[in-house]
Symmetry: C2
Subunit: 434 residues, 2 copies
């Protein structure tokens, strides 16, 4: 059965031209925004040593995560894995390059892998795009990260809400409510669900976890206060005091220029593993379109230093853009988003006895004018060629017959309207450049 070959691995995808062109546009936007903010590109390999991602280095990779890691061996029998994310390799890179001048700002975009269950929107191979800066403990740089996220989504045309909270605030709420140390993580996991299950739902969960009425009331009063960001900051400061977390949120918000989209959300927990300060999650303003976060990050001041060892401090903060979710958001918002089926701007059709080489020469001139050109080399009939160009959504065609050659002109056809006119080469370029 030959066609056994026509199958893919589970949970992976092909992207044909229309999807890939649209995805590349998003990646290009990331790249230009990341670089304009001073983040430099690096590339770490897909294949890493298993030890790097294993939990024994205490970097917050949980064992379930390790279960979802693709494992393989090389010919030397070494235990390897496919990377599951970029933060751990970034920590390795920083550790292996002690000559790096701090602050070091880098971005990395590429595929990461998880051998997990396949659900809607969950893949085994997917793109992640991370920016991180190491060497700055000042939360002013957190403001820059928020500004960068703002800029990305503004350029993509997505209306978003950027939620901010701080791990220290969650700790302070726990202390304020008198939640015993050993129950704090479990309680935080419940309050992180506020958005999904509401106040009543969180209360129910906390009751099931055998928290006292008094603790629960205190926790809920802290996470359910209402008001502007400034009001929340003040009320919360009065209620639970400031162990540093509230000031860090305040500093980040105050120093963000485009702060209009920021929402201080005291219930946001954003993972429990390695975050130490401010944490962010970005959602569509219209969450009915897509309820999950499309971008998230935070401060992880302990992870890199703990990973490298030696006692040196490597404060860090970063944010990760999920290409898949952002692509889905853009597609939901704009059905035209992946409608470009070809990069070709003009399809050159030699007619009759016009030699293909002449068509090649015109294509070369068009490309020199930065116009993406393709041509027919199959000597198909004009109608067939126009139908072909149309099937790829190519906006223009050039008809190149013997008459045109004699007159040193080209017939330019608008593929949408069907209108044609005879123009000089320079006129064609001027028209296509518009």
């Amino acid at each position: 059965m030959k066609n056994e070959a026509l199958q893919m691995a589970k949970g992976v995808r092909d992207f044909g031209p229309a999807e890939k062109i649209a995805r590349d546009k998003i990646l290009d936007t990331f790249k230009i925004v990341f670089e304009s903010f001073g983040y430099n590109p690096i590339e770490t390999p897909v294949i890493e040593r298993q030890e790097l991602f294993a939990s024994k280095f205490g970097i917050g990779q949980e064992s379930e995560a390790m279960n979802e890691t693709f494992k393989l061996n090389d010919q030397g029998g070494r235990d390897l894995v496919l990377r599951t994310e970029f933060t751990v390799p970034f920590a390795r890179y920083v550790g292996m390059n002690p000559q790096l001048r701090l602050p070091f700002k880098r971005y990395q975009m590429g595929t990461v892998f998880r051998d997990g269950p396949i659900k809607l929107g969950r893949y085994r191979e997917f793109w992640q795009c991370d920016v991180d800066v190491v060497g700055v403990s000042n939360p002013l740089i957190d403001a820059e990260i928020i500004e960068l996220a703002n800029e990305v989504f503004q350029r993509l045309g997505l209306a978003v809400e950027i939620r901010i909270n701080n791990r220290k605030i969650l700790n302070a709420i726990m202390d304020y409510a008198g939640v015993p140390e050993e129950n704090q993580i479990s309680v935080i996991i419940s309050i992180d669900k506020l958005d999904k299950i509401g106040i009543a739902g969180v209360r129910e969960e906390l009751l099931a976890k055998e928290m006292s009425e008094e603790m629960i009331n205190k926790v809920l009063s802290a996470i359910s206060i209402k008001g502007t960001n400034n009001e929340l900051i003040e009320k919360l400061r009065d209620m639970i005091g400031d162990n540093g977390g509230i000031s860090e949120v305040d500093d980040a918000i105050k120093n963000t220029i485009s702060s209009g989209n920021i929402v201080f959300s005291p219930s946001l927990a954003r993972g429990l593993a390695y975050y130490t300060g401010n944490v962010f999650e970005v959602y569509l303003k219209d969450r009915s379109r897509l309820s999950s976060a499309i971008c998230a990050g935070g401060r992880f001041d302990e992870m890199i230093g703990g990973f490298i060892g030696g006692g040196e401090s490597f404060p860090a903060v970063g944010i990760s853009f999920g290409l898949e979710a952002i692509f889905d958001a853009l597609r939901l918002q704009n059905a035209e988003f992946e409608s470009q089926r070809s990069v070709v701007e003009v399809y050159v059709i030699p007619i009759g006895n016009v030699p293909i080489k002449t068509a090649f020469e015109y294509c070369k001139k068009l490309r020199e004018a930065n116009i993406f050109a393709d041509l027919d080399v199959l000597s198909r009939k004009t109608g067939k060629n126009l139908e072909y160009a149309s099937s790829y959504g190519i906006p223009w065609a050039i008809l190149l017959g013997e008459d045109e050659l004699k007159e040193n002109k080209l017939t330019l056809r608008d593929m949408l309207s069907g209108e044609q006119e005879k123009l000089s080469f320079d006129e064609v370029v001027a028209k296509l450049k518009k």
Copy 2:
């Protein structure tokens, strides 16, 4: 031992900013040339099913190649591999998308993997960049592929020689010399080494393979003829006759516009597996710099159809650019090639009591003018900041003190010359845009 974590898998690499910026420039050049020639991007996954690459589909993957393929399993126990190249996944893609309009021109760039021995310039994870067109049997399109390669190397500033031969010519030489069917592949493997071991070396090898003197003389006379491309074509046509191969070479050369770099090389074999017609290899003109091919390809008219089955014909031709070799070539030619250590164009330094937020605002305005800006958020002394900017090779610095704010000016410093001048924001932009 924490620092066990600071290790990578064997044969893989990190690319820091300087290398990644330089590599991205090459990839950007590929992308713009490929697209301007009408090739559309697609993306197939890193992970494929083992059956796809296994030799049982008769697509010319040899078993040694399968030994050098990274194998892994998913949680469902399926046998998977990491892709070793892009042609097999392309064939799968064509087979799984019967709605595709032919000709279909696509490019794909990304990492491929081989679990082979590690030698100089051989890695286990490396980038490959392929263009292929399926649905055109006419060798005119081969001319376009050559033109595309020419354009890539011209834009990269590499002087190259594009060698062309045709698999049918090799067959015709075998018939002309009377080499028995069962010895032909072995003889072709020897003559492919002409370049490396010379005529005497090839003769020795063929003697060792117990070819007759007469056969050897005939083979050597055919592959060692000298002259211009046209002379070679004529002499060879007279000597061995034309079974189609010589005309295909002739057509490809004649229809290439920038044909000055093309060298017809009757000894070129370019793999024995799936090529059916014209084959190409691109070398640096100055081979003393780098003796191996930096780009190669050819026509494979049988492979995709054989792979898909069903009797439909899928003539195809393509070429593959090895990022690693091309990067090495550029680095050998120009020591400055990877000298850009940062994408940042200007480093903004707030001085004294100037609030960071003001520096953020200037950065935002600079970025809006498409100038890549970074800034100090650590309140370091100016000298330290200048030294930091200099360590990253950032060409400009902006000093933003209280005086400047009062005058609504910025002090722009040329980091190379150390010259400074006070300018308005618009003057700064004009200067940096130059």
